[in-house]
Symmetry: C2
Subunit: 158 residues, 2 copies
Amino acid sequence: MKWDNIQELPCSVARALSIFGDRWTLLILRDCFIGVKRFDKFQKSIGLSRHRLADRLTKLVEHEILRKEPYQEKPLRYEYKLTRKGVDLYPVLMTLAKWGDTWMDGGDGPPLEYTHAKCQHKMTVELCCSECGEEINPKEVIPKVGPGLKAYSSRVKP
Amino acid sequence: MKWDNIQELPCSVARALSIFGDRWTLLILRDCFIGVKRFDKFQKSIGLSRHRLADRLTKLVEHEILRKEPYQEKPLRYEYKLTRKGVDLYPVLMTLAKWGDTWMDGGDGPPLEYTHAKCQHKMTVELCCSECGEEINPKEVIPKVGPGLKAYSSRVKP
DNA sequence: CCACTAGGTTCCATTTTAGAACTAACTTGA
DNA sequence: TCAAGTTAGTTCTAAAATGGAACCTAGTGG
């Protein structure tokens, strides 16, 4: 299976990863959430080659995860901003960061700590049920075939 | 910057991605959560080359995200099981899946739907504050320098 | 005029990957 | 007993992706 075919699988994880399942894209998005907007800033912050960076930014714009907006004319310059679709990736980044904080801190504690403006406490993120609000235990979540998988099956072997 | 150096950055997202920020590893872990345990099942389910699969499984075992356990002797065969560290990746997979369900369903609806055994409702996952339990809005989370970043800075330029 | 900034693009050597074929150590059925 | 099947890999090679340096374009500041 080639990477380019992965987005056709009837799996939301595979489809999401077809866009940012590579070395650098999620680091670019992490930077977006901490306020980085310009080409050179991304490059210095992340340390990837300009070549790759240009490529990834273009891809993110194509997928409408970032939007290019001019911030000056003469010479015309753009900055990259998260769209709604991009902001929606916040839970992915935060759960990744929490896992890294827990398992990869090298004994030094988390690189960043977070405060919740609403309740003013130092916080971490938790995964909760949209219906009862309780914290999720993986064993208590039962996956069932949904409409997307049914539609796919009927197309593949009708 | 080479990929091999990424895990040394003082960033939990980068460190986490140094293990599974590639094309296939998160798909292997997704399969683990739906009960896949054996080499051939992974290969058929995901469609990556046997070569890559062997490589990724070895890496996941080295990082103690999976554990190899014999399920028969003569010939000796192992299966791969999630460790505690691996199970802790559940929120990452579920938030990825939710994003894919929302933005990449191709109009067919989600491939899988989930029921919460505890409350018996069809559910999605939400990101909540560990302290006040309210749903997280990215704008209300304030990151501050933590001990991990301080320790790193004092090592790099003391 | 010269250096500098910002945002790329081009080129090429090195790395990584995909896919097919091969191996090893058994088990099963005819 | 012997061929075929199962499971879990490993080896090989061509093709694709990557990293890094140099170059380009369109300005600004001195």
